[in-house]
């Protein structure tokens, strides 16, 4: 049935309110959480929904994030639909348990308000928290806008619980920039939401006493690798499921979601690859340059784990120069994770484009249209010379500038 999109009511919501509302509409069975800036208000608003009887959820205010994820694992193993929200150090403290969740194939959904990791202590946006968890076996969806973060929650539930997948999903949105900014959101109806996510029936459950199971048993030299192989196969399958669920979402609600967003990429000669909210800023620069006749474009990965490598390679193959912008440094001495992944993806491409990596906006440092324009300038001059000047570099940053430690920044 066609959707009368314009009939849908719009609401002004912050990223966190929209996520909390989506979670309310999903109505999970269990929601264990611990407060941490900037994702606290998701937890806070969700706890109000619980108190108001708007959901049937068991809300557990645990004593740390380690306990939050542990409670998620316990509840999910017992067959419940489980959600939580966190950020930064909170995700870092969940680390040990993240691997348990994915290894046990528990379809938990977590929302992360991306925030820098200590030290130094910083509460603002960068991607070091979730990028550090990129190999934890979770599916990662990065959201550019409040609307997308909202929509991703419903899709995350479906992706996680898909029988071919059965893996946890984290939905990422930029701390403060998206978690706290009010944007127009077109919500879906409660019934539609319920219909979309459907009922969850765990295949194996600790509470199914007629069919007892053991969870988390030892698996040494021989069986361990079998489990890991299965997990690896499952996360590969997630890619098709993401596409399938995105299509269904589009049919029902009219908003299109794929593996990534291509922006003015068709005939582009140079492009920026960038995640989340900074893509919005970059698109403004793309439009400005397009108006001046420059063939520039953008690719914004939405699904980062599993990495849709073949599709990204396909999308970038006609380009001459690509810049990967990372909002984190993997401290390998060789640029950020996005740069490394995309560079590796391009290896198989015939006449592969030149590529360079730029690290920007760490700890909430501003990234503006002028910064995006400067990257495109570099891309265009590389196009002319046919030579990459500097493979990896920090931008939005002047290493010579004096450091002020007394101002509000510290």
């Amino acid at each position: 049935m066609a959707i009368a999109r314009n009939k849908r009511e719009q609401m002004g919501l912050t990223g966190n309110s929209a996520v909390a509302m989506a979670m309310k509409q999903v109505n999970p069975d269990v929601f264990p959480a611990y407060p941490i800036t900037p994702s606290t208000t998701v937890v806070e608003e969700f706890s109000s929904y619980v108190a108001d009887g708007a959901v049937d959820t068991e809300f557990i205010a645990v004593e740390s994030e380690h306990s939050a994820m542990s409670a998620c694992v316990g509840a999910a193993a017992a067959g419940a639909r489980v959600m939580t929200a966190t950020s930064s150090q909170g995700l870092a403290l969940m680390w040990e348990v993240l691997y348990i969740a994915s290894g046990l194939r528990l379809p938990i959904v977590l929302c992360d308000g991306n925030r820098a990791l200590s030290s130094p202590i910083n509460i603002h946006c960068d991607h070091s928290d979730t990028m550090g968890a990129r190999d934890s076996g979770w599916i990662h969806l990065y959201s550019e806008t409040v609307q997308e973060a909202y929509d991703n929650i419903f899709q995350a539930v479906r992706i996680a619980e898909h029988p071919d997948v059965m893996l946890p999903v984290m939905v990422c949105l930029d701390g403060f920039i998206t978690t706290h900014a009010i944007e127009n959101v077109t919500p879906i109806g409660d019934e539609e939401a319920q219909e979309f996510v459907g009922e969850y029936k765990a295949k194996n459950s600790l509470l199914d006493t007629d069919n007892p199971v053991t969870v988390g048993a030892m698996a040494l030299q021989e069986p361990y690798m079998v489990f890991k192989y299965q997990q690896s196969e499952a996360i590969k399958k997630a890619k098709d499921v993401v596409i399938e669920v995105g299509k269904e979402f589009e049919e029902k609600f009219g908003r299109e979601y794929g593996l990534f967003e291509s922006y003015r990429l068709e005939d582009a000669e140079v492009a920026v690859v960038i995640l989340s909210s900074a893509a919005g800023t970059t698109k403004v620069a793309v439009d400005e340059l397009r108006a001046r006749g420059k063939k520039v474009g953008l690719l914004r990965p939405r699904l980062f784990r599993p990495l849709p490598h073949a599709e990204i390679a396909e999308a970038l193959k006609g380009l001459k120069v690509v810049a990967c912008l990372d909002r984190t440094d993997s401290m390998s001495g060789f640029g950020g994770p996005l740069f490394n992944d995309v560079r590796s993806v391009l290896y198989e491409v015939e006449n592969r484009p030149l590529i360079f990596g730029r690290i920007f906006g760490l700890g909430g440092r501003d990234y503006q249209v002028k910064d995006a324009l400067a990257v495109f300038e570099e891309l265009l001059s590389t196009l002319e010379t046919g030579k990459v000047d500097e493979l990896i570099k920090y931008i939005t940053f002047d290493p010579e500038a004096p450091l002020s430690v007394d101002g509000s920044g510290c």
């Binding site: 407060p35 208000t41 806070e44 108001d52 205010a61 004593e63 740390s64 994030e65 403290l93 007394d406």
Partner: protein
């Protein structure tokens, strides 16, 4: 005209600047927050004991209370949420001559750092712990903590908290701390004295400081103002050990005890460790 010595002493205000980092004030605490009063009491106690700033190390976790370390001009570590106890143990253990203080809050010490807190007490390592107890997570917007009284309101307990609270003093005592005391931000002079004794004590000393968060706890629990809250919780909500000794449990009611609640002697951890080294070294030499 010469001012009599006694009078002169009274009229000279305490020089807090000596202990504060230049350029860091004003602090970030909200108007009416008790944390500033606690900090001042602590600085006066440090001054009394006469510790050199270079020999003093202050370690904090995360939370409003933990911002204290940013303001004090000594060796400071602003660590991770709940982990100040573990950081401080490492510091003290490697440099036992460093006078070490941990600044924590109820969420930091009793929830996420509860495990480290009890093991610090168990070891009886010579560290003074200040728990700024305001029964709420102030920094993240007023979620209930493990010391929030049952029935009170928080952003995560809209219809009243159903969990029973921890008593940080009982916990410290049970875990093995050898000096356990309680005071409040309201009783600033008394707090200073208690803190001084805690600093002087050899072994783990824990001071639970009842403090007010008027912004979150206060507003959600119908306290009209910061002073209303201080009067209600800190002044009228507490009673000294000496006063309580004269009353029946009914007369004491729900009031919390102030003063030194527990004091014991037990070998201190670093000393114990040194003894082992000496003993083993002598034994090896002899062999």
């Amino acid at each position: 005209m010469a001012v009599p010595a006694a009078k002169q002493r009274l009229s000279v205000p305490f020089d807090y600047d000596k202990y504060l980092r230049p350029g860091k004030l004003p602090h970030i605490w909200c108007p009416g927050c008790g944390h500033g009063i606690v900090l001042k009491s602590l600085l006066r106690a440090i001054d009394k004991i006469g510790w050199e700033k270079d020999n003093l190390c202050m370690v904090s976790g995360i939370g409003c209370s933990s911002r204290t370390t940013g303001y004090v001009d000594c060796n400071t570590v602003h660590s991770l949420h709940g982990r100040a106890f573990a950081f401080a143990t490492g510091i003290k253990f490697s440099k036992p001559e460093l006078n070490t203080i941990v600044i924590s809050g109820d969420g930091d010490a009793m929830a996420i750092g509860g495990n480290h807190f009890i093991h610090l007490c168990r070891r009886n390592i010579d560290i003074t712990v200040l728990v700024y107890s305001n029964a709420i997570y102030g920094m993240t917007g007023g979620q209930y903590s493990p010391t929030t009284p049952a029935g009170s309101y928080a952003t995560t307990s809209r219809y009243g908290n159903i969990e029973p609270p921890f008593d940080p003093c009982e916990m410290a005592k049970a875990a093995g701390a050898t000096f356990v005391a309680r005071s409040t931000a309201y009783h600033t002079k008394e707090l200073e004295k208690i803190l001084l004794q805690a600093l002087e004590h050899k072994g783990t000393s824990v001071v639970d400081i009842i403090d007010s968060c008027p912004i979150y706890y206060g507003r959600m629990n119908k306290f009209k103002s910061a002073s209303h809250m201080m009067n209600g919780l800190e002044k009228d909500g507490t009673i000294t050990v000496a006063q309580a000794a004269k009353l029946t449990p009914e007369e004491i009611g729900g009031r919390q005890l102030r003063g030194i609640l527990h004091q014991a002697e037990r070998p201190e951890y670093c000393e114990n460790y040194d003894n082992i080294i000496v003993k083993q070294a002598t034994a090896t030499k002899g062999a």
